[in-house]
Structure formats: C-alpha cells, structure tokens
C-alpha cells in the first residue's frame, strides 16, 4: 500500500508571530520556518506503517513556494521514499490545497493519506476533511491511534468528550493529533541520503487546478493586550483580591 503525506512549511512553533506594522499580514521575513508539527507526526506514522510492513511506499507532498523543498527534504530524511512539490507563489488556501492533493491522489492512487489535523499558521483545520470529501473517501480526524488491517483503518480519535473509535474503509484520509506518536529526529546519514531521493516538481496548472483564493484578507491586527497584572505575596492576599477586587469568587 502507498501512503501519501501532505506536509506544510510554516513558521517554527517556537517563534511568536508578529503582525506587520501596515496590518497586511504576519511578518515572515527572516523568521525560522519548519515543518508543521502535526505533519511531522503524520510522516512518523507513515514511516512506522512502512517499518511494520503495512505500507510499501511513503510519498511526501508539499504545496507552496520553492522553499517548501526544504520541508520535503526533511520528510525524506525522516524516511519518506520520494517527494512531490506543487510549486506556486499564489497564497494557497485549504480548498485549493485539497484540490491539488486530490489531483495527485487521482494520479498516485494511495490507499491512505495522513495529514496533520491543523496547520499552526492558518489554524484552519480543514484540508484533510476537504480532501476526503473531494475524493468521496471516508475520514478519521484527530487520530491518536491508527491500526491498518484487512483494507480498513481502525482509528481512535480525540474528541471534546474523550475518545471515539471509528473503522473506516480504505482508501481514506486520516488527520493526526498530538498524541499519535512521538516523531523521531533525522540522523545526519539520513539527511545526506535524503539529498539523493527523488523530488519532483509540478505546477497547479499541470494538475488542472484553479488555486485562486476565495477569501481576501482585509487586515491583520494584533489582539488586545492584557493589562499588566500584579504579584500577590501570599494566598490570603490572593483570596482577598479575588473576592473584593475581581469579585469572581464568593
């Protein structure tokens, strides 16, 4: 079975995003960029399926600017077999990414697509679900455990009330949550090997996909800052303040 893993290049999760002074967006110049953390988890899950003999090939895909090649090289260093870059300078919104991934799935026929549950830049949490819908496939989002057997994936999902387990027929789309696994680090020899693995580049037009954004960002602003608080000396003072000043407890 072939597994396809979409990986997004995003601001590193340790960096605090800064809004540009002109309100046009977030300042990404000279900011450290990395693979979306949820996608590292997705890559890890795919590689484990390969190591377990369930998957034969792991294909990493990234949609975006030429620099996404770095993200794909990371996926290759972690153990993906080959990579596809869908190169575009246009801002790609989740619907457009889902359409690009659908076109690739039509060509590649994977049995399983493992996405991250959410990109930590747009915080959209949409792409995997949209892809599943466009393909007419089943889905299991927010996965914390995936077992593949007999043409089905049994997936435990983290939901608001606790856990839910679904059985979904393959081909299907799974989106990974934080506790699915702990991703490995790429070793130096594997980073060297990754440089020789195949990385193919295509354009949205080659896939026949119109990626024109549907949402226009009118402005980006900083959220209201919280008023500076105060230190209290002890619990007596804390309780007095909560009762008499903040009036949030009786």
């Amino acid at each position: 079975m072939k597994v396809l893993v979409p990986v997004k290049r995003v601001i590193d999760y340790n960096v605090k995003a800064r809004v540009k002074a002109d309100g046009s967006g977030v300042d990404l110049a000279n900011v450290k960029m990395s693979m979306n953390p949820f996608d590292e988890i997705a890559v890890e899950e795919a590689i484990r399926l390969k190591e377990a003999g369930v998957a034969k090939e792991v294909v990493a895909v990234s949609c975006g600017v030429a620099a996404c090649q770095e993200t794909l090289r990371t996926a290759l260093a972690l153990g993906a077999d080959r990579a596809i870059l869908v190169e575009s300078d246009v801002e790609l919104q989740p619907l457009a990414v889902a359409k690009l991934l659908k076109a690739l799935c039509d060509k590649e026929s994977p049995q399983l697509v493992i996405c991250g549950k959410q990109a930590i830049d747009d915080d959209a949490n949409q792409t995997g679900q949209m892809l599943a819908a466009l393909l007419g496939w089943g889905q299991a989002t927010f996965a914390s455990k995936v077992v593949v057997a007999d043409g089905k994936a049994t997936v435990t999902r983290e939901v608001d009330g606790g856990l839910e387990t679904l059985k979904v027929s393959l081909p299907a789309v799974v989106t990974g949550d934080l506790r699915l696994n702990e991703p490995r680090y790429a070793t130096l020899p594997n980073i060297m090997k990754a440089k020789k693995k195949p990385l193919e580049t295509v354009k949205p037009a080659d896939l026949g996909v119109d990626v024109t954004p549907r949402l226009t960002t009118l402005k980006v602003a900083e959220p209201a800052k919280r008023q500076a608080g105060e230190r209290v000396a002890d619990v007596q003072q804390l309780v007095a303040k909560l009762r008499n000043e903040a009036k949030v407890i009786a």
Partner: protein, 310 residues
C-alpha cells in the same frame, strides 16, 4: 435568504456550543433554521425550537445518522444546502470534523473559528495561535463558517419555533463507529465553565494532579483543565487540554497551576476574565498574562488556598 445552523447534541441533550453558534448566526441577518441531525433526537429538536432566535427547526431523525459521522452529517447538509446564504456550526470537534466536507462539496471556502462578524461576508478569526486577528472577506456564494464559542454569548430560551421532520435521503456513508470512551465527570463542562482549575507538568504525576487540584476544584465548583504536557504525561484525559490545539476557554476565573505559559497554551485561555498563575519560577511567561501572580511551590500554596477559601 435564510441561514442554516447545525445543532451539536448527543441525541439527548443540546450542547451549550449550539447557543453560542446561534448568537453568531443572529449577527448575519436572515431567518435562522436549525438542523438537528441524529437518531432518536426528537427531544433535542424541542430544545432547539425553544431557543431565542430560531425561526424553524429541521429534524433529521434517521438510523444513518446514529453515529453522527462526518460523512453522514455532511452528506445530509449538502443535500439541503440550496437556498441558504450561510451554513454555520460550532468550532468544536463536532463542527471541525464535518463542516469542511460540506464546504468542499459545495466548492466554497470554509471560514474557521470566527470570533466576530463585521458584515454578512466579512469575519474576524484568530490565526497563528491567536497572536494575530485576521479580517477576511468571502467571495463565495454560500458562506460556510465555524464559530469559536468563546467569541459569542450563549443565546437564551424564549423561542417557540415549529419542528419539521425532513426525509433523509440515502447518505452512502460507510464509516462505522466502534465505540466511545467518554470522560465521566460530575464537574461543569470545561468549555462552558465559570471557573477552571488547570494543571501542568509542575504537578509531577497523575496522583498529584488529582490529589492537589481536586480539593480546590471542589471548593470552587470548577471544571478541571490541563496543559498539553500534563495530558501527554497521562495526568489528565485528552479532553482536558486547553490551548491552540485543545479547547479554547474564557471563564470568569482561570487558575494556571504549574503551567509555564507556552504560546500554544496561552492561545486557549488568554481571553479569560481573570487569570491567576501559581508557579515557582518568577520568570515563567504565564505571569505576563496573569492578573494575579503568586510565586511559590504549588504543593504548599494550593493546600493553603483550599484552607483559606474555608
């Protein structure tokens, strides 16, 4: 044109998130129809009909909808989408699961997690873990939206809409529910609680998490929450996680105990009315958002706090 709001429920009870979502929908202008989709959910439809601001309830009661899977709910919503200007659901794991499918099948964008409505086609939504607020305008014919519940007050009762049962077409969904392990708790629901006692890695282990925090939560009638580190380490179940990728909460009072205050945690609680931080590290970033900060060892401070509350 009317607006379709999808109710969140478990076939027995209407979830509080539905009320916040309804308040957001009221700002869009247009009659509001509420869809109650499930199996054996007639009581929920009655509860929906009593909400203030609902013009009509559509009840889709069918065995195909028993598991509330994304595939089945999305197929149903798409089958009845014609004629609606907006399709709206809460940005909970329920709404996030099925609504992007609806958007894709209608070939429109989804606007995730809105916190304000500027105009019927223009919305504000947090991005980058809430470090920026984007105002976005949709050019699509139908606006498909999930609502961040903390952005809107809960709509009250007082309505008396009629309930119309709708015929459910074959939905063609093949995903099966194997089972659910829901967290049972007598405490208030985290997302709707007035007070939250939240614990982090500083608690050290699961036993301490419960032993130290539960007496405080009992005293305050509070819900309990946790940081990702605490959930990862097994101190608390996954549905306790507060943050960018967990639950977003905005209680009257949030007590962060043994939590450092990483960006991703702050994203889920910094809109709380009053924040208290208890941490032994005076430099911990949580103090930057705390209204009241107490530097100290939580194992001493929390029991003292319980005693002081009397």
């Amino acid at each position: 044109m009317p607006i379709l709001v999808i109710a969140e429920h478990d076939d027995a009870v209407l979830k509080a998130s539905t009320r916040n979502t309804l308040s957001a929908a009221k700002k869009l202008g247009g009659d509001i129809h509420m869809l109650v989709a499930g199996h054996g959910c007639a009581a929920v439809a009655q509860a929906a009909a009593a909400l203030d601001g609902v013009a009509g309830v559509k009840l889709a009661d069918d065995p195909q909808l028993a598991a509330h899977t994304a595939e089945s709910v999305a197929a149903l919503v798409v089958s009845m989408a014609a004629g609606y200007s907006h399709i709206v659901a809460p940005a909970t794991t329920f709404g996030k699961n099925f609504l992007p499918r609806v958007a894709a099948l209608l070939d429109v964008a989804q606007i995730s997690d809105i916190v304000a409505v500027e105009a019927p086609d223009t919305f504000v939504r947090p991005i980058y873990a809430g470090n920026a607020l984007a105002t976005v305008k949709s050019s699509d014919a139908v606006k498909v939206i999930t609502v961040r519940t903390t952005g809107f007050d809960a709509a009250g009762d007082g309505g008396s809409a009629s309930v119309a049962a709708i015929a459910v077409p074959p939905l063609g969904a093949t995903t099966d529910l194997v089972g659910r392990e829901l967290t049972v708790s007598a405490r208030p629901e985290l997302a709707a609680a007035k007070i939250i006692v939240s614990g982090g890695r500083g608690l050290g282990n699961s036993e301490n998490y419960h032993k130290v925090l539960e007496p405080l939560a009992d005293k305050l009638g509070a819900a309990m929450g946790a940081s990702r580190a605490a959930v990862d380490a097994g101190f608390a179940p996954n549905d306790y996680q507060v943050g960018q990728t967990g639950k977003v909460v905005a209680p009257q009072l949030y007590l962060a105990i043994g939590i450092s205050g990483a960006i991703q945690h702050l994203a889920g609680m910094k809109d709380s009315k009053v924040i208290v931080a208890i941490n032994k590290d005076a430099e911990a970033p949580i103090f930057q958002v705390a209204d009241y900060g107490l530097v100290g060892d939580l194992f001493e401070v929390v029991p003292q706090l319980v005693a002081e509350l009397g």
